[in-house]
């Protein structure tokens, strides 16, 4: 049942091309475009500030593109379309007369996870390409002194951290969509909450008290920095948040998802 629902969600997403582009395709293009502009401006106008390129550090950094609130806007819009679309188009009565509620909602979550994973990986690839362009312009590159296994693991950790962070946001969007039955409410509430969290967590950026790991942005950063350390990065103040951060992200995701699913299974769809 859940695979049938997942197939449907991915099919709908593939056919809703314009929305899917803005939600999941725009950020990688933006990362590529803005990176190239930055490189050409730096090299042609300012001169080489940093006399070497680091394409693999760039690709690792690219995995964090969707971790900040403003850049999560696209993913939030994508989540709102997936979770709030059925309310907006009043299509629950077409879908829930064919499949069960929980598999349908979980399939939406899975479809979002797949789409956002592609987006995160493409962001990383875009930054890697920018790094290569930087290398060709600078004429010099630095590569991590660690082995390929550590590089791959660092990337995997960073990818997982960003994915987990965005999935917490998606589960929150799902909850707001179920509560409000409105796509716009899900976007606005999620974005404002993320911005508020980022502002509130500024003091936690220096690390220290692990209670800051409850903030999803710091939790994600902590996990990513533990990966960056594997590639020789030294400026990793938050890497101590990695473990409690992972726990916090799982907790937030589980809490939002469970509440949303419980409410959804009990919800009267008298209009939709």
């Amino acid at each position: 049942m859940i695979l049938d629902a997942l197939k449907t969600e991915l099919y709908k997403l593939s056919r809703n091309r314009w929305s899917a582009f803005w939600a999941f395709g725009f950020m990688p293009l933006f990362a590529l475009g803005s990176g190239l502009v930055e490189q050409f401006f730096t090299h042609l106008y300012l001169g080489d500030i940093i006399p070497y390129a680091a394409p693999l550090q760039d690709s690792l950094g690219g995995l964090a593109t969707l971790s900040t609130s403003i850049f999560q806007l696209c993913a939030i819009a994508g989540a709102a379309i997936i979770f709030g679309g059925e309310y907006r188009w009043e299509t629950w009565r077409a879908t829930l007369t064919r499949n069960d509620r929980i598999p349908v909602m979980l399939a939406k979550l899975m479809a979002f996870a797949i789409a956002v994973s592609v987006s995160v990986i493409l962001c990383s690839l875009a930054r890697f390409i920018v790094g290569l362009v930087d290398m060709s312009l600078t004429g010099e590159a630095r590569w991590p002194s660690v082995g390929a296994g550590d590089i791959a693991l660092a990337h995997l950790i960073a990818f997982t951290a960003t994915l987990a962070q965005v999935m917490v946001t998606a589960s929150f969007v799902m909850l707001v969509a179920v509560l409000s039955r409105a796509m716009t409410a899900a976007i606005v509430a999620a974005l404002l909450t993320l911005v508020a969290i980022e502002i509130a967590s500024i003091r936690g950026n220096g690390g220290g008290d692990p209670v800051w790991a409850l903030f999803p942005n710091l939790a994600g950063a902590g996990i990513r920095q533990s990966g960056e350390r594997m590639m020789g990065e030294v400026d990793t103040l938050l890497h101590g948040f990695a473990l409690p951060g992972a726990g916090a992200l799982i907790l937030w995701f589980a809490a939002f998802t469970t509440v949303a699913l419980v409410l959804f299974t009990r919800q009267d769809l008298s209009k939709e």
Binding site: D4, T8, Y11, N16, R93, A94, T97, D100, P103
Partner: protein
Amino acid sequence: MTAALETFGLGKSYGRGGRAVSALGALDLSVPKGLVYGVLGPNGAGKSTLLRLVLGLVKPSRGGFRLLGESSIDARVLRRIGAMIEAPSLYPFLTARETLRALAHLSGLNDPAREEAVLERVGLSEAAHRRVRTYSMGMKQRLALGAALLARPELLILDEPTNGLDPPGIQEMRVLVRELVEKEGVTIILSSHLLDEVQKVCDRVAIINRGELVSEGRVSDLISGQGGFFIRAAPREKALAILGARARPQDDGLVVDIPPDAAPALIRELVGANIDVFEARWLTQSLERVFLSSMDQSQ
């Protein structure tokens, strides 16, 4: 034989405490398999609420039901049912062909030939490549019907299926509904406020008002015998004098309230009194009159 749908005191209220509004009282209904069952009622009577309840879209406040013999409604049961509830609900960014493909996936189907056959059946083959947002209401209604037919359902639940259809479309819908029942053995539960359509297409009806069942039975039983026995005879005054209080003038004749088996004796009585009988026939009651009469009685 198991009924297609049985409800036991099924009811739904919205809100709580003193502000609760009852959308459906406590409905006891049994819909036999293999026929077209009409659910009639004015706006707000509870027709759509009943259909949403049995499809699991809203949760009952009281009572229960069995659908196709099952009291627990999950995807296993839902996949034996096709449903079209209220206005067509479709994804505006999909074409008709894509809509059927998406809903087929959701039902666990993988039969593109069936999708094409359904498009053909509902007359949308030519427009199948167009996005739904460009469709007229009637085209959306046809597509929603096609989606309901996709999984070859045993039971089809249609809520106001002729809304938005033009007269030829209504005629096609009527033919399709009868074909599905008579040739494919599908059971159809159909709600409508178009009483003439219901009379033409349904075998049995339930009339609901303010969430309560006010009348139920075979359409032929509900409309027969209740219209009176019409006689055109001359001289009319003499006939009226013989029939007395049993008769009342109507148009150029008389309408007599008698049971069906009393008609031959009545005609013999008039002929025996040297009255010329030009016409004698049973007036059939229209479903509309039955409906309005039921509404009056339930007020």
